[in-house]
Symmetry: C2
Subunit: 188 residues, 2 copies
């Protein structure tokens, strides 16, 4: 997606440790026009698939997911990272290892909002090691739902997540794949 790549080159920052900072438009400050275009792009990619729900994970997936869901004409469900008192025990759970935050966390979705008749599109802002996406894939499986595919905004092509998910036969569509980050420069 050229609009996205141009924005990453303009406002993204390649930091040490293969961290790319896109806080200024994607996951702290959010450009709603760009996110709307991203939602439209996921719609174009997955419109033929009879998606019944979009699934993402709090927090940075939400703004992306809600536009994709709007264009697809379906609800968005976002997985929660900790147990909230307002959700009962009626949940699907998966454990995720976060490399960035160096911690394990639980991902939870209420059983009320994922069923075996669902056909799910997972979306997220980043794909690196693929652990968060895998957590969501496991929840889709647990629910007995079908997985239509995964839509990613920025994939770090030099990390293993994309290969891992695609080797499982999952359709993964990334709008920008970063091949390399070197001396503060970003390459697609």
């Amino acid at each position: 997606m050229e609009l996205l790549k141009a924005r990453i080159l303009k406002d993204g920052k390649a930091l040490d440790g293969n961290i790319i900072k896109v806080d200024s438009f994607l996951n702290h400050q959010i450009d709603p026009y760009l996110l709307d275009e991203i939602g439209k792009e996921f719609y174009e990619l997955f419109r033929s698939g009879n998606v019944t729900k979009v699934l993402t994970i709090e927090s940075s997936g939400i703004a992306i997911g809600v536009f994709a869901a709007k264009y697809l004409g379906v609800p968005l469900v976002f997985a929660k990272k900790t147990m909230s008192l307002n959700i009962d025990d009626n949940v699907y759970t998966s454990v995720v290892h976060s490399y960035t935050k160096k911690t394990l966390y639980d991902v939870k979705v209420s059983k009320d909002y994922l069923t075996e008749s669902d056909n799910i599109l997972i979306v997220d802002d980043f794909l690196a090691n693929g652990q968060a996406a895998l957590g969501l894939v496991n929840i889709v499986k647990e629910a007995g739902a079908r997985l239509e595919g995964i839509g990613i905004v920025i994939e770090k092509g030099f990390q293993d997540g994309g290969r891992l998910l695609r080797s499982m036969g999952i359709r993964v569509e990334s709008l920008a794949i970063i091949s390399q980050m070197k001396n503060g420069e970003i390459f697609f």
Copy 2:
């Protein structure tokens, strides 16, 4: 907002302890059409105010804020509840007491995304005790920015938050104000 009130009556659940559960369309599963309409409503209410940014708090404020921001033609900034490794120490911080989760948490916004030239619209899904909103108000003050007002989706009119914020001279617009919850029934 009649569309919202009708949806609350249809799908909201009044639970013990004055908890209203709107997980099925507002803060776990999300109806993007309703949220789009809510964003439009906040735009109508605050369009004359020269808002430069919408500010909300993760996670359930994000989907609301991104539509409001889109209609207002400005960025959305969402405050984070914990320190992420990807944000530097260059942050505004406020401490919030969560009655629901019975805990204290830090709310943080990068100094890069709030400045004294900003005019801020705060939005959130709920207003009850007003602690989360107050945390955001404090961050706006800390940044030296102007506060245009606060847009709330559901206010619990029988709790103190609305009175507290309005007594500070803040313009608070709630799209649905619940006056009472009794025997599982919701009254506006």
